[in-house]
């Protein structure tokens, strides 16, 4: 998979689906935070499809944690859908599943948010 970063946005009901691909490091994490903050400002839930992430640095992980906490404060939620191995390995390593819930697919994540 190419490392070049990109975010594809799709609104699905009360959630926004962000398909993130490429490398999630210090530079791209800033961009993700900006996009995520805009979603948060609309008071919508966020599903992050991270299946296209080829590499996640600590700053990328930190951006996910930070986003999740920001959404939690506003009664909205963040869920991670079909994360790549690069994402799950780091989340598992630091035992962050309680704070970054993972679903197997976008539909599962959207369904979890609805319920």
């Amino acid at each position: 998979m190419p490392d070049s970063f990109g975010i594809q946005e799709e609104t699905r009901g009360r959630a926004v689906l962000l398909r993130v691909r490429g490398r999630l490091d210090a530079r791209s994490a800033t961009h993700l935070l900006e996009v995520g903050s805009r979603v948060r400002a609309r008071n919508l839930n966020l599903v992050l499809d991270l299946s296209g992430i080829t590499f996640m640095a600590s700053s990328g992980l930190g951006s996910l944690l930070s986003l999740a906490e920001e959404f939690r404060q506003g009664d909205t939620r963040v869920r991670i859908a079909s994360p790549s191995a690069a994402v799950t390995s780091v989340i598992h390593l630091l035992n962050l599943e309680p704070f970054l819930p993972i679903d197997g697919s976008e539909e599962e994540a959207l369904h979890a948010l609805d319920s």
């Binding site: 590499f55 944690l65 930070s66 906490e69 690069a86 390995s89 390593l93």
Partner: protein, 683 residues
């Protein structure tokens, strides 16, 4: 001695030939002289006979010449004489006028006598009277005698000639006779000489054969000679020499066998001892031993324990030789079996005493020091079973402490009495402190004169003076002092030294040196994005590339976080400044890049047994102990920072950061299961 038999000329033959030659020379010389004398005698006799013939004829002719017809008497007389004496060539009677009056040939009668020509006088021969002559030519010997009247008046002369061929024939006959006798004498003499000498010199051959057998390795067959001469004496001496050789040979074989066994024991002993130092955290442990001439029973060892602590043992078996070596081997085996099981050092020593006690002979014992180091805290718990005091150099004060403990040697008293004497002690080694343990081969080494021992005071001084050099400096410095003290001669006892040194910088530099020696590296600058170089580096190293994908991804992430920290915090993203990442596989698994691609599970094991090292010369981090973050705290989650260190410390079971060493900031770490929450930032 070559296998080929040398061809030599036997002394028997030499002596015999010389004797025979001498005998022949003597006989021939004597024969030659005898022949010459015989020839002379014969010649003299014949000339005398000729002269006598002439005289007799002169005497007979003196009366006949006065008769009227002397020829009538002389002719038949001479004819008959010549017939009876064929050696006479002629006989002539000549009167005073020179006319032949007597001749065997009647035609010569009355003719004038012509003196034969070509005659030369015979100088030797019988004495002659006046007027008598003896002359000779090549063919004849001629005697001339005057015929005298009783009144003395000369009436004529007689000439009688003898054929020299007759003389020569007579002499020749005599010579032949003599030669025959000579030849027979020679033959008999030579044969007798040969037989006698051969018999007399036969023992020489026997001696020669005997010496050949001894040279060929046969020392069991004696030289058998019954001889009362020097040869018999020589034979007995050779037999004695062979017996002595045999005994010496047996002793040499036995000595060589013992030497081989001792050498084997020494090799076994050497193979049991640690081959290299240990670096654990900020601690370096290193030992060394100089063996005595005779294999002994000194032992030392240091090893990681399952819980991350380090065991350290030094022991001295009483007695030398194979017995000491065997006990040392047993001790090593028991220690390796019990070290992970026994609790405290005192408990371990008690357990060893119980096991060894059944095996040690009465009077044999083992002194032993055993300690357990916690490299996280620097604390050492130790106990001693009658061993030497522990010396500790304190950098803060510049002094050396001598720490004694109670405890009797292992095996000294049977039945477990040792338990009441053993006690665990503890000490803490601060940065810069050095601990020294040793065997009494060091402290009790005698000086060159053999009058004074090296002693503890000198050891404490040596430790204080060399501690700054780390374990190697202490070991080399102490051995050098011992060599100066005792000289270069053979040692009576093993000299064993073990040094435990707390020096983060030293440990880090030692690790860096080892990395440079056998590791593979990746060099990055402060600005480069490290991700692709790290991926390429991992791919290029078969041992790392063979990792299962999850481990490989975690390793990539971890190394990336390390590099990102260095580049950002250490170098401020300065492209001009470089840093290095090193990977060292476990020892014994090939030098840099020489490994074949292992199986994934093997690669994972090697990854855990090897270690990584990062060296940079950027701004060092603060020397605070790292602590794991509490993600239950929403503030921590909201901040979303510090996750890089979290990833590093969760991936690496051990992380040691030593800033500002002589080579820069050095971090070394070992990949493994999730480590404890605390790691060490040294310095």
């Amino acid at each position: 001695m070559s296998g080929r038999r040398e061809r030599v000329l036997g002394i028997r033959w030499i002596v015999t030939l010389v004797a025979v030659g001498l005998t022949a020379a003597v006989v021939l010389s004597v024969g030659a002289v005898a022949e010459r004398n015989a020839r002379r005698a014969l010649t003299s006799e014949l000339t005398s006979r000729l002269l006598l013939e002439a005289r007799n004829l002169a005497l007979t002719s003196s009366g006949v010449l006065l008769s009227d017809f002397p020829e009538l008497t002389l002719h038949p007389l001479l004819k008959e004489k010549l017939a009876k004496q064929p050696e006479l060539s002629y006989a002539v009677v000549v009167d005073y006028a020179g006319i032949i009056q007597g001749h065997a040939d009647p035609h010569r009668l009355g003719t004038r006598f012509a003196e034969p020509s070509g005659l030369r006088p015979v100088l030797d021969g019988p004495p002659r009277a006046a007027g008598e002559t003896l002359r000779r030519s090549d063919r004849e010997l001629v005697a001339s005698v005057p015929i005298l009247h009783p009144s003395g008046k000369r009436l004529g002369h007689v000439v009688v000639a003898m054929r020299t061929s007759y003389v020569d024939a007579v002499i020749e006959r005599a010579r032949r006779q003599q030669s025959l006798i000579l030849a027979i004498s020679l033959l008999v003499g030579l044969t007798a000489s040969f037989l006698i000498l051969s018999h007399v010199l036969r023992p020489v051959s026997v001696l020669r054969d005997g010496i050949r057998r001894i040279a060929g390795g046969d020392l069991d067959t004696p030289v058998s000679i019954r001889d009362g001469t020097e040869l018999g004496l020589l034979a007995r001496a050779i037999n004695d020499m062979a017996a002595e050789l045999k005994r010496a040979q047996a002793e040499m074989v036995e000595r060589e066998r013992l030497a081989r066994e001792m050498e084997l024991a020494r090799e076994i002993q050497g193979s049991i001892l640690p081959s290299d130092r240990i670096v654990e955290g900020a601690f370096v442990i290193e030992g060394s031993q100089r063996a005595a001439a005779e294999v002994g029973g000194d032992y030392y060892d240091y090893f990681p324990l399952p819980d991350g602590r380090i065991g350290l043992a030094v022991a001295d078996v009483s007695g030398k030789g194979l017995a000491g070596c065997l006990i040392m081997s047993m001790l090593c085996a028991l220690l390796r079996a019990d070290r992970g099981v026994a609790g405290s050092p005192a408990a371990l020593l008690a357990a060893l005493d119980e096991r060894l006690g059944a095996t040690l002979r009465r009077g044999s014992f083992v002194t032993m020091f055993y300690g357990i180091l916690d490299p996280r805290t620097g604390g050492l718990t130790y106990a001693s079973a009658g061993h030497n005091p522990t010396l500790v150099y304190r950098r803060s004060t510049g002094t050396v402490e001598s720490l004694r403990t109670r405890g009797i040697p292992l095996g000294a008293i049977r039945g477990g009495a040792i338990r009441a004497t053993l006690e665990d002690q503890t000490l803490v080694l601060e940065p810069g402190d050095t601990l020294l343990q040793f065997t009494d081969g060091v402290s009790e080494a005698f000086d060159v004169e053999g009058g004074e021992q090296f002693g503890h005071d000198r050891m404490m001084t040596a430790l204080r003076e060399t501690a700054s050099g780390g374990p190697r400096g202490v070991i080399d410095g102490l051995f050098e002092r011992l060599t100066r003290w005792s000289g270069d001669g053979s040692r009576l006892d093993d000299e064993t030294i073990v040094v435990l040194h707390h020096d983060p910088e030293h440990a880090a530099l030692a690790q860096y040196e080892e990395a440079r020696g056998r590791g593979t590296s990746l060099v990055l600058d402060g600005r480069s994005d490290p991700l692709e170089p790290i991926r390429d580096w991992i791919r290029s190293n078969p041992a790392l590339d063979a990792l299962p994908a999850p481990e490989r991804d975690l390793l990539t992430s971890t190394l990336y976080e390390v590099c990102a920290n260095v580049a950002e915090h250490g170098y401020g993203h300065d492209a001009r400044r470089e840093y290095e990442i090193w990977w060292l596989p476990p020892k014994g698994n090939g030098a840099r890049g020489a490994m074949e691609r292992p199986a994934p599970e093997t690669a994972a094991r090697h990854l855990r047994d090897g270690w990584f090292l990062i060296r940079d010369q950027g701004t060092p981090f603060s020397a605070n102990h790292w602590k794991s973050q509490d993600f239950n705290d929403p503030r921590v989650r909201r901040r979303g920072r510090g996750l890089g260190l979290e990833i590093i410390h969760r991936t690496m079971r051990r992380v040691v950061y030593t800033p500002s060493t002589a080579a820069g900031n050095i971090t070394w770490m070992c990949f493994g299961a999730r480590a404890a929450e605390e790691a060490t930032h040294a310095g």
